[in-house]
Structures are given as structure tokens and as C-alpha cells.
Amino acid sequence: MSNSEKDYMMDRLAAEARMGRISRRSFMHYSMAAGLTASAATGLWTSSAKAAPQKGGTLRVAQHDGNTSDQHDPGQYQSNFEIGYGHTVRAYLTMINPDGSLGPDVAKEWSATPDAAEWTFVINENATFHDGNKVTGADVVASLNHHRGDNTTSAAKSLLTDVEEIKDNGDNSVTITLSGGNADLPWLMTDYHLAILPANEDGSINWQSGIGCGPYKMVELEFGVGGRFVRHEDWHGEGAWFDEVQVLVINDPNARQTALVTGDVDTASLLDNKTLALLSRNPQVEIDNVASAQAITMPMHCDVAPFDNVDVRNALKLAINREELIEKITFGAATVGNDFHHSPAMPYFPEGIEQREYDPEQAKSLLKKAGMEGLTVNFSTADSITTGAVDAAVLYAEHAKEAGITINVVREPNDGYWSDVWLEKPWCMVTWGARPTPDVMYSLAYKEGADWNESHWVNDEFNKLLQQGKAELDQEKRKQIYHDMALLARNDGGTVIPYFPNFIYGRRSNVKHTGALAPSWQMDGYRYASRWWFES
């Protein structure tokens, strides 16, 4: 058999398997006859036969981080329950695909002027709200304007500061004009705050009713307790296989896991890393362990001694054993960091930058050069930052001893950490949620003058490159720019980035997905309701 014949044969076989027309035994028989090894055939059977989505069933979800104080206003979304709810009941202009790329949602296509300062989004003509009304340009304009202006309380305001005008073109398209070029604007439209909702007469939006244009309609909802959602038959997207989705708020990690083990729920978000080894022995439970763009950062204020010396900063970066931290604190469920805030789960990831290793000897010599041998520094942390945050800091202090550095771990109260410690203390531990692109991340926390420039780092070349990259539509050039920026942040920046924690969640083994899971949020970028299905 020639290769093309073989491919044709395998495609046929896979199609037959997907339709359920042939048994596993004959599939294996034929594919081995076609020249495949047994293990390759098994893999193909799993990905083709089981990957046939089908309609039906009620998915029961155990969701962490839901509160009585959750609400419908998308500008104030903050909890994981709200984000999951946003992606189940509401829809956004664009979405992050399971492979991490950008895909269409309410907008079916978009284009920009060559300077990337004017973007036009064309609305999918099938997009329909739950009350039967079509989504119009006016709805999109009102939905985005909800997050702009002086009186908005929206947490997404900072995302849209560059927006000068949002115009309804009247032909089912909307044009957004920016004060400067931004090649990432379509990525920003995936932000969980920017839900598309029905407009009122006066240009505000109707967020109070819970109506959206997402894959599921709300039947009942009590914040802090849970909700019930049924399929929106007129949804414009693909999928939405479940007849009904029931979300139950279970904030206690133990209760969530128990519910998954006993089968009281079909899937559970955020599992405890400590119990992964035990859970994975249960044949009824599948665990999804997905590399993400979340990050743990340790920013040093670059304008405060001793961190104003780049040798000290780099000595501290060399004095941490990242591998051991990942193994002991996250139980292996993390991607190693290299002191630039750009995870492999984000687009334009720079290849070929040497991984910084634990090297106390070199750290020592850098400190000697800086005249700071026997350095003593305070390092603030709190339990609530991440699982084992205080343990991680203590472990870091142990590693640093080898380099003659004394790190005093200061355990701060969880309450008020973000107002009293973060951005205030010269060196502390921070957790960051996943951001869609490197530009968003660098503009938020590494640009000169940014509100959240947590390390007070100022590097002119970096800022220049950031500005260049923002308006650059050429993908290859952009990749090079982010590569150079990453290098600058790694070698000169004030932030130690030990690792990017994975998303970890679980499901009963009869709940299926394609195997690719979006790196943007828990539970397939919180699009599980439209992307997953039950095996019969």
C-alpha cells in the first residue's frame, strides 16, 4: 500500500468507527492489516471512536469559588463560578480554542487597518439571545460601552482604555477605533467581563435578567448555591451536547472530591494536588492536568535597595531550585518558569531561551561582585496566594542558604493582602490569573508607569519593543519582538517566576472531551458545557 492509500484507508476506518459501524476488534484487525502497530491502532481507536460527540444527559458540575455575593453584572465578574456561568449562559465576540488559538464566537470574522488601530468585527447572523432576538451591532456597542467611561465600576475598564470609539455600522458589523495600534484587540475580546448582552433603549445593557446569547439558558440560579441550565437550541456555535447542565457550588475541596468519587457529580473543578496520586488510581475518575498561563511571581522593587542592583536580582533568581519547588509544592503539576512572564500556553512563546537553573555558586559570585555577600532580605507571603505558598517560601529560603543569602519569610494575613502587601512591600509572592497574550501581561505589570508594575521595573528598550509589538500585525516579527522582550525581562527584570501552575480538574470517566483543553481557565477555559459530552 502506498502512503496515500494507507491514509485514505485509515480515514475510512476512523469514519466508520466514529459512526459506530465497526467494532473495536475489527477496527484493530483492519488497521493492523493496513500497516499500523497495535499501540498506534489503539490510540487511533480511542481518538476516533470515543471522540464522537453525542447529544443527551444532564451534566452535574461541582464548582469551586462561588459566593452568595456573586452577581449578573459582567463588569463585576470575579469568582470562578461567575466566569463559568459567563461562558455557559453568555457569549463573547471571540473565544480561545482548545488548542490555545483564537476562534470566532459572536463575531464570525474580524479585520484591521494596517496600523491595527481600527478593527471591524462582523457579527454572526445566527447569534440569538435566549428571548429570541437576534444579536445586533447596537447590542455589541452597548455591551462594550458598559465597561468604559468615568462612571463604570467594571473591572475590565483598564482593558479598554485605548478605545476611542465603538461604532455600529448598521450592516451587522461594529468598528472599534483605538488611540494607537493594538494587534491583540481580538484576543482582548475573550475577556470574561466582555459578555455580549441585550441593549436597552438608552444604550445601557440589560444584565439584570440573566439573558445571554450563550449555549445554555438559565432555568434557575441561586448565587452561592448553584444553578440549572438547559440547551439554547438556537445557539450559533457547535456543540452544547448536554440537554441540561447543573452547577453546584462546592467551595470545600474535600467535599468536591468526595462528590466526584461517589458519583454525586460528573465533573469537579480545581482538585487538590495532594490527592492527585490517590484519585488517579480510581478507574471511575479521569484527571485533566492542563498547562496554563497562570503564574506565581515574586516581584522585587527595583528602585529599593538592595534590589536596585541587577546582580542582586539575578543572584536571587539563581538561588531558587524551581524543579524541587514544582515537585514538592505542586506535586509536579506545573510548568517551570524562566523569569519572564510568558508561559508556553500563551501565543508567541519564545523558543530557544536558556532555562535558568539553580546555581548557588554563581549567585554567590554575583553577590560578591555587588559587594553584598551574606545578604539578608525579607520576603512576604500569605497562605491564600496558592496552595502551599508559605511552604514554597520556606523552601526557597532553604535553597538560598546555599548561596549565603538569608531570606526571612514574613507570613502576612490573608485579609487585605492585595491592598497592604502587594505593590507595597519591596519583595512578596503574587499569583496571577491567565492572560490571553504576552502583550496584555507585559502592558499590565511590566510596562513603565503601569498601575500594577509590581517590580517597579523600568527598561527603555523593553518599553520600546512593547510599543512596537502592540501594533505589529506580522506574526513572525511579533514573535521575534516577544523573544527579545522575554530575554530582557529574564536578565534585567525584578521578578522571579518559579513556575506556571497547571489547571487541575476531574471528571467521571463517562464524560468525554476531544483531548485538547483550552489553557485559559479551569474546565476547558470554562467552556466545558458546550464542548464536552457523555459517552453512551
Binding site: T68, S69, Q71, Q76, Q78, V225, D252
Partner: protein
């Protein structure tokens, strides 16, 4: 009877005064918590303009003392204001949840009170035997373990290993009564285990205390069987301390279920309180604390009245 009424009125007045003092304490304690409500609502991602806009919207730019009196006046008419986080009425948010908590407490009480009293009588009868010691050790070890630990143990055996009861007590509208009882059995059992020891030991102590009295001796000498001695002669005089400890435990059942509700995912008032504290939602925290305080005061009042009714001597204080 007139004496009792004036006594009850006096106690009620005192209770209201205590409630007022508690309301002052609650308000200013919550005020003194570190952090800031606008920050808590908007989270890490808040900008200074966001925070200022939200504070203004919530009325947080007013001085604390002004907000306290506005709230107190509302609370007197059972208007606890609106949640500063969501803008919904506090009464609506906690009303339904308080009913659910009351249900769970009642469920536990219906089992716990008879079991505790009967067990208390039995161990009083069989005092200093093996049975007495075993019952004491077992109930004491339950009362000494934190509720969430007991809850996890019950889940491990009854839900995970034996699959007899659901591990989570998610209840919804329109659920049948027996399904409701089944779903909430484990949290109720946890509460029962926690409160039985206290009531049982008080019953035992009160009865043993009375068994040394001359009139009991007399009854025994007359040849009255032991169980009759206890039920007819001892128990009626032992009610006062028993009623007190029952009232105390009932109050505990209502106010102390926070951890149990979290472990079993039961949508009661405890969960609402935990949420509200973490979000600095003052009106909800204050309302729930006031309800808890009022529960304690009312049940204590009931206990006092109950003991007086069962003991004629207390009706005529010297």
C-alpha cells in the same frame, strides 16, 4: 401567673438591651477588619478609579456612625437594608437560608434530645457500670472532635465506602420530604453526635444528684421499681438544669452549623455568613450575627421560663 409575666417582660427588656450592645459590638468589629469592602468586591484587579466609584455607589463615603444608626433604625423594623455587594435585600438573601438552617437544626434536635435524655436516664440507672463508662467515653470523644472531622468520617464510611447516603446535601425546591430527610441525614447526624454528650451528661448528673435525696430513698424503701423512681420521682425535679442545657444546645445547633454546612454543601445561613465575611458585606454579617444573638437570648429566656414552670420554688424568689 402575673409574676411570671412580669418576669418574662423584664427578661425580654434585658434581652433587647443586650441585643443593642451586641449590635454596637458587631458593627464596629466588622468595621475594624483589615482590608476594604470595595477591594474585596473588585479583587486584585481593581484600579483606584474603580474603587472610588464603587465606594461612592455603596455609600461607604459616609462616616461609620451615620451608617450605624441608619442600619439600626432599619433593623428595628426588620429591614436589614440591602447587601452592599449585590444590592439585593438582605432579608430576601438570608430568609430562605435561615429556614433551611432551622430545618437542619430541628432535624438534629428531634433525634438528639430524646436520645440524649433516654441515654442519660439509662446511664444514671446503670451508673459506674461498663455501659456507663463506654457511653461516656464514646459521646465525649464525639464532642471533643471538631464537627468537620466528624463530618468527613461519616462521609468516608456512609457515602464513599458503603454508599448509603449522598456525600453532599444539595437540596432544591420541590424535593420530596423523605428525599430531603435522606439527603440531609449525614449533616443532621454530625450535629446529633456533637450535642448528645452535653445533654446526656447533664441529665445523668441531675438525676444522680437527686437520687441521693431523702424522698427518693423513701420511694425506694417503699419498693418502687428503679425505672419508676427515676421517671416519676426524680425526673420532674431534674427538669430545670436539663431544660437549660437543651436550650443551650438548640442555640448551638442553629448558630454552630457553619462548618457542617460547608462540609456537606448545605445551603444554609452559615455558608452565607462565611461568604459575606470574606466579601465584607456588612449588612449581611450584621443581620446574621443579630439573628444568632437573638436566638441565644430567646432560647435562654425560654429555658429560664421553662425551669421556673417546672419548679414551683423558683416562682417565688426570696
Amino acid at each position: 401567673m402575673g409574676d411570671i409575666l412580669s418576669l418574662v417582660a423584664k427578661r425580654l427588656g434585658l434581652g433587647l438591651f443586650i441585643l443593642f450592645v451586641i449590635s454596637v459590638i458587631i458593627f464596629f468589629m466588622v468595621e475594624a477588619l483589615p482590608g476594604d469592602i470595595a477591594q474585596a468586591v473588585l479583587g486584585q484587579g481593581a484600579t483606584p478609579e474603580n474603587l472610588a466609584a464603587l465606594r461612592k455607589e455603596m455609600g461607604l463615603d459616609q462616616p461609620a456612625i451615620v451608617r450605624y444608626f441608619e442600619w439600626l433604625v432599619g433593623a428595628l423594623t426588620f429591614d436589614f437594608g440591602t447587601s452592599v455587594v449585590t444590592g439585593n435585600s438582605v432579608a430576601a438573601i438570608i430568609g430562605d437560608r435561615f429556614t433551611k438552617t432551622l430545618f437542619l437544626a430541628a432535624y438534629a434536635a428531634v433525634i438528639a434530645v430524646p436520645v440524649a435524655i433516654i441515654l442519660g436516664i439509662i446511664v444514671a440507672l446503670l451508673r459506674n457500670t461498663i455501659f456507663d463508662r463506654v457511653a461516656n467515653v464514646v459521646t465525649l470523644s464525639f464532642i471533643s472532635s471538631p464537627e468537620f472531622f466528624l463530618g468527613y468520617i461519616l462521609i468516608l464510611y456512609f457515602a464513599v465506602q458503603w454508599g448509603m447516603f449522598p456525600a453532599i446535601s444539595s437540596v432544591r425546591e420541590g424535593m420530596g420530604f423523605f428525599e430531603l430527610l435522606e439527603r440531609t441525614f449525614l449533616p443532621a447526624l454530625t450535629l446529633v453526635l456533637v450535642v448528645v454528650a452535653h445533654m446526656m451528661r447533664m441529665t445523668r448528673a441531675a438525676i444522680i444528684n437527686l437520687l441521693a435525696s431523702p424522698y427518693i430513698e423513701m420511694a425506694k424503701l417503699k419498693g418502687v421499681p428503679p425505672w419508676k423512681v427515676i421517671v416519676r420521682h426524680a425526673l420532674p425535679n431534674a427538669w430545670a438544669p436539663i431544660i437549660n442545657v437543651i436550650a443551650l444546645n438548640l442555640a448551638y445547633l442553629i448558630t454552630g452549623v457553619v462548618l457542617v454546612e460547608v462540609v456537606f454543601v448545605y445551603p444554609g445561613i452559615g455558608q452565607a455568613l462565611v461568604d459575606a465575611v470574606s466579601k465584607r458585606d456588612f449588612p449581611i454579617v450584621q443581620a446574621v450575627c443579630l439573628i444568632f444573638a437573638a436566638t441565644f437570648i430567646l432560647l435562654n429566656l425560654a429555658a429560664d421560663v421553662g425551669s421556673i414552670l417546672t419548679n414551683p420554688r423558683l416562682r417565688h424568689p426570696k
